[in-house]
C-alpha cells in the first residue's frame, strides 16, 4: 500500500476521466471557453483553481459541523472569495502580464460551478484529507481539459506553444508556413473552444459507452 488507499486514489483518478467536471458534469464551461486561447493561461488557470479548490475543500470540511446550513452558501462564498483574492494578488505580483490576460476570469473563479459544487457535494460531508484529495482530483480533471483545449487552440490558432513558435514563423514564411500553411483564426475565438470541448466529449463517450445518457 502506498500513500493513498484504493478509495482515496479513486477520489483523484475518477474526475480525470469518467467523472470529469467539464466533459461529464459540464461545469466550469465559461472559463474553459474564455481563457484557453493560450496554453500558458490554461495552465495558470488550472493551478489557480487547484489551489482554491484544494484549500477551500479543506477549510469547508473543517468547518462542516459548525456552519449553520441556512447560511452555508454565504460561508462557502466567503471562503472562495478569500482564496481567490490571494490567487489574484499573487498573480498580479509575480505574473502581471498573465494576470492581465486572465483578467476578470481569475475573479470569476468564485462563481466557477465546480468549486461550489464540490463544497456542496463533498466537503460538507467528508473529512479534510478526503476533501483535499477530492479537490485536487476535480481540479486536475478541470485542468486536463483546459490544457488539452489550450494546446490545440494555441497550436492551430497561433502556431505557437507556450509562446514558442513551433510551426515556423508566419511572417518570414519558414517551417510549415513556407508551404502555404496558415493559422486558423477561428481557433482563437471562443466558439471554437466549445467545439473542441464538444469533440473531447464525443471521443470520451465513444470510448466508454456507459457515459452516454439515456433519454
Amino acid at each position: 500500500m502506498g500513500l493513498l488507499s484504493k478509495k482515496d486514489t479513486k477520489l483523484i483518478t475518477d474526475p480525470l476521466a469518467d467523472n470529469n467536471p467539464i466533459t461529464i458534469q459540464v461545469l466550469g464551461i465559461c472559463s474553459a471557453l474564455a481563457i484557453t486561447a493560450e496554453l500558458k493561461a490554461s495552465i495558470v488557470m488550472s493551478i489557480s483553481v487547484m489551489f482554491v479548490l484544494g484549500l477551500g475543500n479543506v477549510v469547508i470540511s473543517l468547518m462542516r459541523n459548525i456552519i449553520p446550513s441556512k447560511i452555508r452558501i454565504i460561508v462557502q462564498l466567503t471562503v472562495v472569495a478569500a482564496l481567490v483574492i490571494i490567487v489574484d494578488q499573487v498573480l498580479k505580483a509575480f505574473a502581471y502580464e498573465l494576470s492581465k490576460t486572465l483578467s476578470v476570469f481569475v475573479g470569476l473563479i468564485i462563481t466557477n460551478c465546480i468549486i461550489m459544487g464540490r463544497f456542496e457535494a463533498f466537503a460538507l460531508a467528508n473529512g479534510p484529507w478526503k476533501s483535499f484529495l477530492d479537490g485536487i482530483g476535480n481540479s486536475l480533471g478541470y485542468g486536463v481539459i483546459l490544457i488539452i483545449v489550450g494546446f490545440f487552440r494555441e497550436l492551430l490558432g497561433s502556431g505557437t506553444l507556450l509562446g514558442f513558435p513551433v510551426l515556423g514563423d508566419p511572417i518570414a514564411k519558414t517551417g510549415l508556413y513556407a508551404i502555404g500553411y496558415e493559422n486558423n483564426g477561428f481557433m482563437l475565438l471562443s466558439p471554437m473552444a466549445l467545439i473542441v470541448v464538444g469533440i473531447i466529449i464525443w471521443v470520451q463517450r465513444t470510448r466508454n459507452k456507459a457515459l452516454v445518457e439515456d433519454h
Partner: protein, 408 residues
C-alpha cells in the same frame, strides 16, 4: 439476369460486411433510392431525396458556368486591361473560350476537392454507423465552390469541408438532422478562420493575391484591384460598376453569386419544380427591401450625413441591395434549404423576412462582415424551429378557441 439483379444479389450475399454501405451507396446512386415499399403503395411520387437534390444542382449549373466565364473575364480585365463588356448580357467580349478556360481550370479543382472530401467523410461515417450513405452532400458539394473566392487554397477548402460536414451535419445525425446549413457552415468556418482569403478587395480576382505577394516580395508589377461593390460603398467611394453589370453579373465576387439574372432563373426553376419555397424567397426580398427603404428614408431625412461612415451603404438605392453581394444567391439557394428553413408556411414568411432584414442590417452596420447574408441565414437557421413552434402553437390555440365557441 440483368446487371441490376446481379448487383442486388451481390448485396444480399454480403449483408453485414463492413464495407457494404460504401458499395450500396454507389448502388443506390446509380439505381434505387434508399428504401422501396414492397406492397400497397399509397402515394406514388417520383421526387425522392436524390431527385430533389439533382433538381437543385441543375438550377445551379448556369451560375457555375457563368462563374467560370466571369472568373476569366475578371482576371483579364484586371491583368491585361481588356475592354469592359459593353453590349449587354450576350456580349462577345465576355463569352470567349479563353475566359472560360481560365475559370474552368481554377474552379474544377475546387469542385473536385469539395466533392472528394465531403463524400469521403460521408462514406466513412456511413461505414462507422453501418447505414446507407445518404445523398445529402450532393447539393452542399456543389454550393461550396460557388460561394468561395476563386483563389482560396485547396487545403483550406478541404479543412473547412471536413469541419462543416462533421461538426455541421454528422454530429447531429447526418442528412436531414442538421440545424445549420452545411455549405454556409463551411463558408463561415473559412470566413472566421482565414479572413485574409475570404474578404477584402484582392481575393475575388484570380491571381490578384499572388500578384500582391509578388509585389510585396519586391517585384516591379502593377497592383491589381478587384474592389467589390460592397467594399467601395462601405468606404464611400465611387462604384466602378453599372447597375446592368451588377444584374448580369460582370462583377467580382464569389464564383457563383455574381449573376443576379441567372440566380433568378435558377430560383424560378426551383419554384416551378416545387422544390424551393417561393414564400421564403419572396419574404426575404421584402425584408431586404424594407430595411433598405428605411435606410433611404433616414438618409433623406438628413439624420445621417455624408460624414457618417454608414452613409455610403445607407444611401444606396434600396433595390441595389438585391443585386450586390451574395444576397440573391443566399436567398434562392441557401435560405430555402428544406432541412434548415422553417417548415410551416406561415413560419416561412417570418423566417424569410428576417433573413432579408438581418442580411442588409449586418451589411450596412458592420462593414467588417460584408457578407451579412451568410450570418443572417445561419442565425435564422437557429431560430427556425422556434418560429415553427410558435406557429404550430398558435394554430392549436386558434382551433381550441373555435372548439369552445362551437360547444358553448
Amino acid at each position: 439476369m440483368g446487371l441490376k439483379e446481379n448487383l442486388h444479389n451481390f448485396k444480399v450475399k454480403n449483408k453485414g460486411k463492413k464495407w457494404l454501405p460504401a458499395f450500396s451507396a454507389i448502388h443506390t446512386f446509380l439505381f434505387l433510392p434508399n428504401e422501396v415499399t414492397h406492397n400497397g403503395t399509397h402515394i406514388k411520387a417520383a421526387d425522392d431525396l436524390k431527385r430533389t437534390m439533382n433538381t437543385v444542382i441543375m438550377a445551379m449549373v448556369p451560375c457555375l458556368i457563368f462563374g467560370m466565364f466571369n472568373a476569366g473575364y475578371q482576371h483579364h480585365l484586371a491583368f491585361d486591361g481588356i475592354q469592359a463588356v459593353s453590349g449587354g448580357f450576350f456580349s462577345a467580349e465576355f463569352w470567349t473560350l479563353d475566359n472560360f478556360l481560365v475559370g474552368f481550370w481554377k474552379i474544377l479543382p475546387l469542385v473536385i476537392v469539395s466533392y472528394g472530401v465531403g463524400l469521403g467523410i460521408e462514406f466513412i461515417f456511413a461505414i462507422i454507423k453501418g447505414h446507407e450513405v445518404e445523398e445529402g452532400y450532393l447539393v452542399t458539394g456543389m454550393l461550396v465552390p460557388l460561394i468561395v473566392p476563386i483563389d482560396i487554397p485547396l487545403w483550406m477548402l478541404a479543412v473547412a469541408v471536413v469541419f462543416g460536414v462533421v461538426i455541421g451535419k454528422e454530429v447531429f445525425g447526418g442528412t436531414g438532422m442538421n440545424i445549420l446549413n452545411p455549405a454556409l457552415t463551411i463558408r463561415a468556418f473559412l470566413f472566421f478562420a482565414y479572413p485574409t482569403w475570404m474578404s477584402g478587395d484582392k481575393v475575388w480576382v484570380e491571381g490578384a493575391v499572388a500578384r500582391d505577394r509578388a509585389i510585396a516580395a519586391g517585384e516591379n508589377l502593377d497592383a491589381v484591384s478587384g474592389e467589390t461593390i460592397l467594399g467601395s460603398l462601405a468606404q464611400g467611394k465611387e462604384v466602378a460598376h453599372s447597375v446592368a453589370d451588377m444584374f448580369f453579373g460582370f462583377i467580382p465576387g464569389s464564383i457563383g453569386e455574381t449573376s443576379t439574372l441567372l440566380i433568378i432563373l435558377g430560383g424560378l426553376f426551383l419554384i416551378f419544380a416545387k422544390i424551393g419555397s417561393w414564400r421564403i424567397m419572396l419574404s426575404s426580398v421584402l425584408g431586404a427591401l424594407a430595411v433598405g427603404l428605411i435606410f433611404n428614408q433616414v438618409v433623406d431625412a438628413g439624420v445621417i450625413t455624408e460624414t457618417s461612415k454608414f452613409y455610403g451603404l445607407m444611401s444606396t438605392p434600396f433595390w441595389h441591395h438585391l443585386l450586390i453581394g451574395g444576397f440573391a444567391f443566399g436567398t434562392v439557394f441557401m435560405a430555402t434549404d428544406p432541412v434548415t428553413a422553417a417548415q410551416t408556411n406561415k413560419g416561412k414568411w417570418y423566417y424569410g423576412f428576417f433573413v432579408g432584414f438581418i442580411s442588409i442590417l449586418i451589411r450596412v452596420f458592420n462593414p467588417a462582415y460584408p457578407e451579412g447574408v451568410m450570418l443572417a441565414i445561419l442565425l435564422m437557421n437557429v431560430f427556425a424551429p422556434t418560429i415553427d413552434h410558435y406557429v404550430v402553437q398558435g394554430n392549436v390555440k386558434k382551433r381550441k378557441k373555435r372548439l369552445k365557441v362551437k360547444t358553448a
